[in-house]
Symmetry: C2
Subunit: 207 residues, 2 copies
């Protein structure tokens, strides 16, 4: 469990720091600073230092952060020293793109089961997996001890799928359907809605 009470908004920035640090490490870099991270990420250096201070002492005044060490600490904090098996529900265009996406595995996640309720899609092969009938979801999730799921179904089905997932023991749902879903307090939900991001930006545009 979390060792302290870092605000959720701070936790949400850790993956951004991790992404930047991982890239720097891949480039063979050894030391960075809150100033450099600030310039790369558009987050103030004071904010970065304050965010990280919730989780420990990672840098020294004047010498900065050791990139690989800080990267590994953030991975540990985010529980990414293991790979999390993930269920994907919905095999439309988006589900297809997600199932084929090569960016999950290197970052701690592997989609190991894909579900749909469309007989035309069931049995299709994608990235070494087979699309399975949605009604097998409870058994598969229990067998494979899957607690993380991605929902890529139409809005009209999202709540029903979320209910199935919660009942099957899922504790974290990434929801692509543009609708808010209700889950018990012990289940985490994050949303991805490109429209919301676009609308956020048009606020600042001149018509």
């Amino acid at each position: 469990m979390a060792s302290n009470e870092a605000p959720d908004i701070v936790v949400g920035r850790l993956p951004i720091y991790l992404r930047a640090l991982t890239l720097m490490a891949e480039e063979g870099r050894e030391i960075t600073s809150s100033q450099e991270l600030s310039e790369k990420l558009g987050i103030s250096s004071a904010q970065i230092r304050k965010d990280l201070s919730h989780f420990g002492e990672f840098g020294k005044q004047g010498t900065g952060y050791e990139i690989v060490y800080l990267r590994d600490q953030i991975k540990r904090i985010l529980r990414l020293e293991r790979t999390w098996p993930v269920a994907l529900v919905g095999y439309g265009d988006l589900g297809h793109a997600l199932a084929n996406y090569g960016g999950f595995a290197p970052k701690g996640f592997e989609i190991i089961a894909v579900f749909d309720d469309d007989p035309k899609k069931i049995g299709q092969k994608v990235a070494g997996k087979e699309v399975v009938n949605l009604n097998e979801l409870p058994r598969t999730l229990e067998e494979k001890n899957i607690r993380v799921a991605i929902v890529a179904v139409p809005s009209a089905s999202a709540q029903q799928v979320a209910d199935m997932l919660v009942k099957a023991g899922v504790k974290a749902i990434l929801n692509y359907a543009p609708i808010n879903i209700s889950v018990p307090h012990y289940v985490r939900v994050q949303y991805i809605d490109p429209v919301a991001h676009l609308q956020h930006m048009t606020y600042y545009l001149e018509s």
Copy 2:
């Protein structure tokens, strides 16, 4: 331009309110309350009232919010009384899913140009559009006065594409490549990275 100084984080919640209000209006509902919105969205009712108060007086103590009125006001605030033409760069699996996605048009956005630099993809048809050679991007964007773009290219190309877009007059970029891009201060960028959302949630999971 923005008529006041609402914090960006508040602006970012307006699309979430708009989504909920739009759904309620479609259901024929007339009145809602910050309490009901709170339950649906998992944002405290005090926060919702405070957020909305940045933009005007939309509700009356004891009677709540008129759904259609508040929806239309938020649309106005977010500059969604018009449809924004959007350029999509990158026609891989994700680009294909985005180009086919029916959720943009009803919410104020229309992908009217799709670009890729792969000769095998150029000329393909998708949702009534043709995939166009990336080197035609500057001319197309100018001709069609496009100021909003979605980047769905691999990380290695994202900065170069962003530079092209900025040079062509784009002021808002939704970036799906899992890498931070540098743009001038007058250009807005939002990121969509499913890995970051998943990592945010695993923080709270027991291993």
